[in-house]
Amino acid sequence: MALIEVHNLRKEFKKLVPKTGFLSGIRNLWNTDYTSHVAVDDISFKIEEGELLGYIGPNGAGKSTSIKMMTGILVPTAGEISIAGMTPWKQRREHAQNIGVVFGQKTQLWWDIPPIESYRVLKTIYKIPDSVYEKNLNTFRDLLELHEFENTPVRQLSLGQRMRADLAAAMLHDPRILFLDEPTIGVDVLAKERLREFIKEINRTRGVTILLTTHDMADIEKLCHRMSIIDDGKLLYDGSIHDLKSRYGTERTLVIELDDAPYALHIPNTRVLREEGSRVWIAFDKEKLSASDVMMKVAEKHTIRDLTVEEPEIESIVREIYQSGLDRKKEDGHVAVLDV
């Protein structure tokens, strides 16, 4: 049995249509105008112990809602979740002992006091033995350089420092599973790099299973082997990043620098993406043409001074998948699961 098993998970929200105007706050008490919205629609997946899964999707796709169900905050409308043999919302406390949670948008540390004081509270709440607490704290002091700011009130920390402090807080009680909801949001490049190193390190050396959501595809590429794409509550892709690239990312771009201005570059099965001076970007499908085919065609009429082949970035693949989801929605009035 996998460490995390999610079966046919579904979450439907009834949203109150709020009343406005005179005494609206009080009139809302017996307001019964609801609209229904399916945030998570029949999702199933498994995560093995020690995996580092990237969980991505556009805003409002259902990522946070699924995380809230996996962390025991919300109860699903239908479906099952089993994490380390437990049902999060039924065995909320035992489950909480097993997991660490970081919400990038919202610190779990006490805002006005230094991180080290927050850690003390967490030590009591999670009943962390002194020896484990000291050992972990020292490890994180090394890995995250906590000592630089552990005695500074959280409100005075930079976003990167705050996120480091939050990661340490989530790891103090040696959780088996870590949920990271946008841990790199708003953080500068250097700080991001440091956070990624830490995430990679605890996954590798401690065998912590990690579920990570992010909008930064570089996080995914640098950290995860596997990723799930969710949109409109449905799972669009679940598999390795390598497969994703070879399945969807068959388009290559040839960047050629010519001696003269580009003209008459009408090569079948290609498209000219961009021209800039004597440089031209030609896109082609590597399943249909090879780079040398394209090059030869160009060389018939021009002298080539320089050329490179660009692979698509995961970001553009993902954008394409979101887009195809959107197009399908427009066509059918609903979204079908991609055939993967």
Partner: protein, 267 residues
């Protein structure tokens, strides 16, 4: 139970450290309370100077009534001022975080903050109750003093329970502030400084049964001031601690029920 207490005390420690960051607030808070309450008492004094008594209650009796309310309110405000802010805790996601931790959400929420403002209330009301005691030439036995302490805690518990139960509507509608503010205003306007037997039966029913704020000061005062005979319902004065206990129990039930609803609706 011991576990709850440990978690609560650890959280209170963090809350105290938080407050210590803002020392200036402390003095300003206490000063503000004195000015605010001097204003209220001043109005009462002017009123009573003109009419000499209010439905059989003299000036110092009204002072006692008002300050017993203030004492309960102050104790509540020191430790549980933030209960009326539950709506904000839910909206900004702080509440969700409490649910990801292996401890009772209620205990965690209760221990989240403490506030100086209530300290001023407690000091001032203790002082004024002392003055009223002298001026009314009260002569309590030792068990009456114990009863007074119990009643003061009950007063705090009554306010805490009522406000927290009303705040729980935030779990259903996300907006609870309007309702809680209305109730607070009601408590201030009606119960705080008037002997409620001067009101009609409807209003009296409301503050005794529906929103029993009258157990913060009016009913307990009857016994403490030896006036339990002046009101046909005067015997209710004996029930003050029981009412408080019942309300606390009811609040825990309402809280648990609301959280269950919140987890399944996520509103």
């Amino acid at each position: 139970m011991r576990e709850h207490l440990t978690v609560y005390l650890t959280m209170i420690r963090a809350a105290v450290i938080t407050r210590l960051q803002y020392r200036a607030d402390f003095l300003m808070g206490i000063l503000g309370v004195f000015i605010l309450n001097a204003g209220t008492l001043g109005t009462t004094w002017v009123l009573l100077n003109r009419f000499h008594e209010l439905n059989g209650w003299g000036f110092w009796e009204i002072v006692f009534l008002y300050n017993l309310w203030l004492l309960g309110h102050g104790i509540r405000a020191v430790f549980f001022r933030h209960v009326t802010n539950l709506e904000q805790f839910i909206l900004d996601g702080t509440f969700d975080q409490l649910l990801t931790r292996p401890a009772s959400p209620l205990v965690q929420f209760m221990g989240r903050e403490i506030h100086y403002l209530g300290v001023g209330d407690v000091l001032l009301s203790a002082l004024m109750i002392g003055l009223a005691y002298q001026n009314l030439a009260l002569d309590w036995t030792w068990w009456m003093f114990l009863w007074f302490l119990l009643v003061a805690l009950s007063s705090a518990a009554v306010e805490l329970s009522l406000l927290l139960m009303l705040s729980c509507t935030a779990f259903f509608t996300t907006r609870s502030r309007a309702l809680v503010d209305a109730a607070t205003q009601f408590s201030w306007g009606v119960v705080q400084q008037y002997p409620i037997d001067m009101f009609n039966n409807v209003l009296r029913f409301v503050v005794t049964v529906a929103l029993p704020f009258a157990f913060m000061n009016y009913y307990p005062s009857l016994l403490l001031l030896g006036k339990e005979g002046s009101d046909p319902f005067g015997y209710l004065t004996w029930f003050t601690p029981l009412v408080a206990l019942f309300l606390l129990w009811l609040t825990a039930r309402v809280w648990n029920f609301s959280i269950k609803r919140y987890q399944s609706t996520g509103s």
